[in-house]
Structures are given as C-alpha cells and as structure tokens.
Symmetry: C2
Subunit: 380 residues, 2 copies
Amino acid sequence: MSPTAPASTSLRVWYDLTVAAGEDPAQKALDLALEQTVELPADLVAAEVLERAAGRVEEVAEGGPGRFRAAVAFPAEVWEGADAGTLLALLFGNASLQRGVRVAAVDWPPGLLQRPDLGPRCGIAGVRSACGVAARRPLLATALKPLGTPAADLARQAGLFARGGIDLIKDDHGLADPPGARFAERLARCQEAVAEANRQTGGSSLYVPHLTGPPAVLAERLAAARAAGCRGVLIEPLGRGLDTLGWIGDAGLFALAHPALTGAFFGPDHGIAPGVLLGQILRLAGADGVIYPHAGGRFAFSLEDCAAVENALRAPFGGSGAWRPAFPVPAGGLDLARLPGLLDRLGPDTILLIGGSLYREPDPVESSRRLAALLREWTW
Amino acid sequence: MSPTAPASTSLRVWYDLTVAAGEDPAQKALDLALEQTVELPADLVAAEVLERAAGRVEEVAEGGPGRFRAAVAFPAEVWEGADAGTLLALLFGNASLQRGVRVAAVDWPPGLLQRPDLGPRCGIAGVRSACGVAARRPLLATALKPLGTPAADLARQAGLFARGGIDLIKDDHGLADPPGARFAERLARCQEAVAEANRQTGGSSLYVPHLTGPPAVLAERLAAARAAGCRGVLIEPLGRGLDTLGWIGDAGLFALAHPALTGAFFGPDHGIAPGVLLGQILRLAGADGVIYPHAGGRFAFSLEDCAAVENALRAPFGGSGAWRPAFPVPAGGLDLARLPGLLDRLGPDTILLIGGSLYREPDPVESSRRLAALLREWTW
C-alpha cells in the first residue's frame, strides 16, 4: 500500500478563511493545516512524517472580497481511533486562537462513520422506545423550572406535566445541585412523582435529570439516575466533556445534549457552523437528542441554521452500521401560536421542547394534554 | 437573617453589552440576568424564588456608543457548591447563544474562594516541588512533536531534552492516541527515556503525558500515568470537561491546561475575556499551570491579554485557604532572541514553554542546556 492515503481515508474539513490586507490565503490555509496537526513549519518536519500526519491543503477558492474557502484533508494517523474531544480539537483546537477561521463543513471518512464507539447509542428509535411511543410522531418535552424552586415543588410540577401526557420532563439546565433542590432529593422526588402519575394515567412519561459535577460525582449521579429507573439524562457536553455523551449511552441511557456555551463558536467569521457543531459533532459524540435555539425564539438563530442542525442530526451518514440518527430538539422560546407551522416544517422525527410557554398557561395539566393530543393527531 | 443576600455573598459578573439600534441596554441586562438563572420572564416567577435565585442587575453604565457595562449579582442558591462547569455555564452558558455579551470581569465571593474542592491542588509551589526545583526560578518546558512521529522516536527526543536539563517535557496536544504513538507505548517509552536521562545526569526532568479519551479511558490513562511515576499530565479542559482539572489534582498529579478551543470565546464583543477564562476560571477549576499563546508568537494575543491571564493565575484571591496560585505557561512560538525581555516581564513564577524554536536548533541537548542555564542564572 502506498504511504499516500487515498482521498477516501481522509477527513476533509472545509474552512472559510477571512484574510486581512496583505495576508496570503494560500499561506493561511497551509499554516492552518500544519497548526492543526504537526504544529511545526514544514521545513522542520521529516518528509515521511508530513506525509503520514500533516494536514494537506487540497484547494483554496475565493468566495468574496477577502473571503476564501479552503479544503484541508487530514490523514488517518490524526483521526483513527480518536475520541470526539480529539476530533473537535483537530478541527478547531489551536485554530480557535487564530482569527478569521470558520469550520463550514466536514466530510467524515467511512472509517469514522462506521465506528461503533461513535454516534448515538439509542438514536431516534431508541428514545421513542424508551418513551413507549410506537407511533412515528413528534415527542413532547418540557423543562422543570425555575431554578430556586424547592425539590418538592419541582416534583409536584413534574407530576402535573406527566398527568398531562408530556413524554419527556427534563430538568432546566440551570438545575445542577442547588441547596434548595439537591440532585439526590430532586431525582428521588421527581422520578417518584412521574411514576405515580404514570400509574394513575397508564402513561409512560419520563423524568430526565440534569447531570453535573466533577468526573467522580458525574459517574455517581449517572449510576443513581439509572438505579432510580431513569431512561435518559440531560448533559452539557461543552462543560462536562464531549465524550460524556457516548459514555451515557454506553451505560444504557439516552443522552440529551444542552447547547450551553456552544454559542461561543457561532461567530460569523470565526468558529464552527451550527450544523457542524450542534449537528454532526454532537451526533458523532453520541447525543441521542440535541437541544438548539429555534429561530423566532429568544436567541439569534436563523431558520437556515436550524435546518442545517436538523439535517445533520437526521441525515443518513455512510452505509449500514453508520451513526444512528438523533432527535433535533428545538427550544428557546417556542410560541404555542406558531406550533402548526413548526410541526409542518419539522416533521415527526422531532422532540418539541416547550418550556416557558407552558408556564404561561393557567392550567398546565390541561395545556399539556392539548399539546400532547395535537402531536398525536398531527399528520404530514 | 433576611432572605435578601448581602452583597458579599453574591457572585458579581461584569458584562460588556453591545446594544443594537432600538435595543434597550437596561432591558438587555435584565433579560440576561434572568436567562442565566430562572430562564423565565420575571412575571412568571414567584417573588421569593426571584429573590432566592434570579440574577439581579446592580448597575448599567454607558461605555461608548452602543456599549454598556452591566453588573449582575448572582445569589448563593445558584453558585453554592457548584462545580466549575456549572459556574462557567452560569456566567455564559445560554448567554453564548445571544449576541453582544462579553464577560469582562468577575468578583468571586468568599464562599467560592475558600472552597477546598476548587482551585489548584498543587499550585506553583507543588509543581516546583514535583520538579525538584527549590529555587524561585522559572521552569523550562518543551513539547514532544510532531504528531506522526513513532513513539520510539518521541522517547529518544524526550531523553535528549532531559539530558539538556529541561524541567517539563510534555506531549504536544495533538498527540492523543495515534496509531504510530499509542498512549500506552508512548507513556512507557517516554517515561523510561526521561528516567534514564535523569539517572545519567542526576537531574529531575519530568515527562508530562497528554490525557485524552472518553471518561472511562481517561480514568485508566490517569491511573497508568500515575503508576508509571508521572507527576503531572496535560489536558484540554474544554474538550474533556473543566472539572477534569481538579480531578487530576485529587489523584495527586498536577494538571497543565491546554487552551485548545478556548479562542472561540475571545470575540471582541461576545465571549469571555482571556484573563477571566484562561486565568480565573481555569484556576478555579484546578489548573496548576495554564498554557496560553504569548503575544508576538503565531497567535493573536496582545500583551494586555497576556498580563491579564498572568495576573489572574498568580494574584492572591481572598484570604488564607483561598485558591493557590497557578503557573502561567506562555507558549505559541516564543522567539529565543526575545527571551531576555520576556523573562524580565514574566518574572520567576513562570513556566516557559519553548517548542518549535528548540526544534530549529541544530543540537537540542546543547540548546536545552543553554536555556536551562539562562533560567537558573537570571536575576530580577
């Protein structure tokens, strides 16, 4: 076999480069390809090491005044067997400290797409099954809030939502381990309140606790959630480590990813495209569902950003054995009045996360019931 | 005690807000204070919960056209007992998904500064002691590179650096678990090569491996590094989880933090000031040394950014029992010719990380020796 990796074994990253006056785009692309791999000028690296490990600029094309798109191919040596954290650093680790570098798209090689230790462990089908939902319909989720509420009151609220037939009742992401609603007490109370409601209604709502804490505590809490009967948990992959997502899946629970901190990467000229970070990277890291701020809510996401995230989470990648599809979980101030249009656009493979809007309704049980019925009956 | 938290028990964050035409700065500050805590409009939150948990805008002052600085105080309910990941999300989690929000400064409450589970476990004194350096002088570090080099060759290189008297010989951060230099083989070979050099020279150089992998693998590798006799490890806190830093310290090793991905947060109008993220937050999370791109190298850091990071890592915080100081580790293309000026500015509580410049020298042992001698003899 030739030491030159054929194109199909390369991981190709498409970078948008913004070039300052006097800066040479070809040089900027080459510096980037070296910075993300060997971290030395080419003249200090042996030829066979450059061949084996250095990023290779495949093309640089002008896209507008001072804007260029560069394709950089990374050989197997730098991504084979790599965990999600290492792959994210390969794409943008040191590059983050430069200026005017944005990851626009990635071509993932078959060698990554087929790895059983990457991608969602449950995926859309697994989460549906955990929720006891056989029909191909959107799932309905809500958040327990606000932070500052005692655990007993959060549990009471969880019970009401379960009685209303909401599929997934998750902790608000601000709920870590606050004095008024410690994780252990919250887990026990909320899980019991939802189980009690299920016994009364014959439903199968799930309580989804938020996992936080340093590594040892995180592992204890995951074990506690599992022992309490939870089927999935919420986690912030940028705060806790990208690879906690797959680790949760390996423990037999589904992982909902929260987008806290990810917005730091969404600069117009510097960062990572939302579809790549929230879609492809969180999916490869093992998220079974990814929460993202839907357009028209209280965050600065466009419809185009949303569509890119949704597509990256659901699109088939590679052949058989490739990453399972994951649920898009639109959130961030969804307006109940706009729900019909949203449902038409989003389709059935969606988890609708309705938080604040439900808290505005006078009767949460009744409002939840109406929403749940709407999702059950919607046709496309 | 009044339910209103006195000012000294609040965590105060100073945000720079960039306000679009028609946007009200006071409203933007209030929305931010609620978004980072209760995640509901104030009219949907009970008064006692607002009092206990919501962020409170203390002031909003104009700082220029369209620019405002807002002070937001967060009550104990939202930070007491919180791990570093939760604190970072409190400062900027959902705010990252907005536009024009930059964390400029933080006043940490005594209740956080005194917590034994935060802050460096070894600190500057502990790392010096691990290196067997009694004198108050800068430590000298270098990186094993490039990625793509077989483990045996990296080990040979490590032995040369150790013979030259370099205190800390760390993996390049691109070295995760590549096929040509798997972690286990690299650890065994590099550690042995450095130990052998120490036996020959009577020196006490340390090999500092880079820890990567999903949580279970990360724990195995930390245990392996410890068993092999390593005294510290390198980690990327944004890829692996902020709280892996303190977890490494709790295992009795020092933690060097790599800045991969952190640059995503350094937008001029949106993000976190470098001194806060690389300095205060990584120090509170438990970094004993923080690598950062020094001004004048190949990254876009100003001298002012550097000084802010250095000050935040070394400055005394709070009283006795407060976070230990941590080493600034300037890197990113330090030029040997500019070393005297750098040493004068940086002072003795510094780890100088000289990577690429050493690889340019014809004789790495001799060059390392000259550098080590320079640091031993420098006086301030």
